[in-house]
Amino acid sequence: MGLRWNTKLEAGSWKLKVGRRAIILSFTHSHIHTLKTMSIEAHNIENSINLKKRGKEIQYQYQPDNHEKSEPNKYKRSNLKREEMVINLGPQHPSTHGVLRLEVVTDGEIVVDVVPHLGYLHRCFEKHAENLPYNQIIPYVDRLDYLAAMNCEHVYVMGVEKMLGIDKEIPKRVEYIRVLVCELNRIASHFVAIGTYGVDIGAFTPFLWLMRDREHIMRMLEWVSGARMLYNYIWVGGLFYDLPVGFEEKCQEFIDYLEPKIGEIEGLLLENKIFIQRTANVGTLPLDLAINYGVTGPLLRASGLKYDLRKVDGYSVYPELEFEVPIGKGEMGAKGDCWDRTYVRVRECYESIKIINQCLKRLQSDLKRTRDFDPQSHVPKKIRPKAQELYFRGETPKGELGFYFKADGRSDIPYRCRCRSGTYVNLSVISEISRGSMLSDLIAILGSIDIVMGEIDR
């Protein structure tokens, strides 16, 4: 069919001009209906032939209104002002750090409203968790925040151990190894956050430098657990393996190498004039708003509150370790702006190095490996908590990760396992802090929130 139908096709008479002659065509409603159906069918047949030629079966037939039905925009022509327009950002855009779609309403280049559309990476974590035994959920937990899988595992496992009542019995060496790998992973996660943020702003070198050093961490964690990103290393009641022989020495060597490298990043990125101009006073998040929005992690600390669950709740062996909680001071602009968030992340890398140094010292002195040490000695044969409800939370690099468990006491499967992820809540503040800023600043704000869609969509 060579004709293109528009929606305004109406019954009546049409005048077509062919050369010098004018042809008058008259249409009735039934004619038009037939013609429309014919054209759609012809289109579908054509499509299916093309697909079959390429050796593929048609899975579904494209309908133009599928998108409008499944993920409709909040803003339509009817509720927009005359000067406003909608810009669709994502889901396949590198600056959205994954599959996030932002419906941005702009007035010229000023952002009027931002409506995030989520769910493109929804994997039904909570529904899966209702059908799996507690220990088999750990690999799914890895995939929540895949950049900091150790931290997610740690929080989840501590929650289950608390339900079982064995959280005080875990051997010290196991606890120290857990904290060691978690802090290594925290540095890796912050490196991705800082590096990709630099790319968003236009600084490419820090990204390459950070990725180079992150690669060392990935390889060390691979040496420990066998996997680069999704480890399944921390088990309920213990660990998969002990640390490999020689790990402590190599890790110490790496940490000594790493510390000056972070200083380089500070000079290259944080003190860079262009970076400061792009981030200072942009996306300022006042403290009261941050708390009201439930924002946690580096975002909340950048707004000036010394709130770190490792200190506040003091879980695992964190009370025995010495480290500071860095907060944003508003050195380059207002307190709680994008620069402060990056600054807090960089400072936290130093604090993690401090913790790793202390862990390595303990692991090489009084908690030294022994021949009879079994990291799985406290792993329960059957994980069946008594009937109870528990909300357990912990600090991951992105914020507060919480698990609400409901156990019925009769099965090895949680009755309900709800995951409260930090980035999901952190992202909800974006429309509030980006309103009134420039469109290019929206990218800077989004990058500074450090989202991971795996944790948001779950």
């Binding site: 309908q63 039904c124 009201n292 409800e389 809540v425």
Partner: protein
């Protein structure tokens, strides 16, 4: 502040009927509040100098289908200055087939974070939050049928002509 002190504080102000402490053996204790006075009680807990629960960690729903005909809504509150935790539970009657989903007033006027948490609960568990500024599905597509975290949820066979294999 312990749970019993909190319970007394709420009972003193809102009458004896609203609070029932229920202690589970090794997990967290929680308060049960009736949905009629939920917003008042939470507003009081948020603004009172003695409690000051300024941080809402999580809202979620639990379907108790095989054993009871209720759906629970669970609020996890935390007070940053006092370092208190509080789990609040509201029991709703579960809707039978043909009825509309249960309703509960929204608390997004107290904590802005409740906006997205309630949307997620609506999406996955199927609880309607009245007075919510923007009650839409958030994780699932807008034309998805059913609420997956209901215990009697059936997986659909097709979605937009795509075979959904499970």
């Amino acid at each position: 502040m312990t749970l019993n002190e909190l319970k007394e504080l709420i009972e003193e102000r809102f009458g004896i009927a609203t609070v029932m402490p229920s202690a589970s053996p090794s997990g967290q204790n929680f308060l049960i509040i009736f949905k009629e006075r939920l917003v008042e009680v939470l507003q009081f807990l948020y603004s009172s100098d003695k409690t000051y629960f300024d941080f809402l960690s999580s809202i979620t729903g639990v379907d108790n289908e095989p054993t009871g005909a209720t759906i629970d809504v669970i609020y996890n509150l935390y007070s940053i200055p006092y370092d208190h935790h509080l789990m609040i539970k509201v029991e709703l009657r579960r809707n039978v087939e043909g009825e509309s989903i249960p309703e509960i007033p929204s608390v997004s006027s107290i904590w802005r974070t409740a906006d997205w948490l309630e949307r997620e609960t609506y999406d996955l568990v199927g609880i309607n939050f009245t007075n919510h500024p923007d009650m839409r599905r958030i994780l699932l597509p807008a034309d998805w049928e059913g609420h997956p975290l209901r215990k009697d949820y059936k997986n659909p066979d097709y979605y937009h002509g795509i075979k959904v294999e499970y």
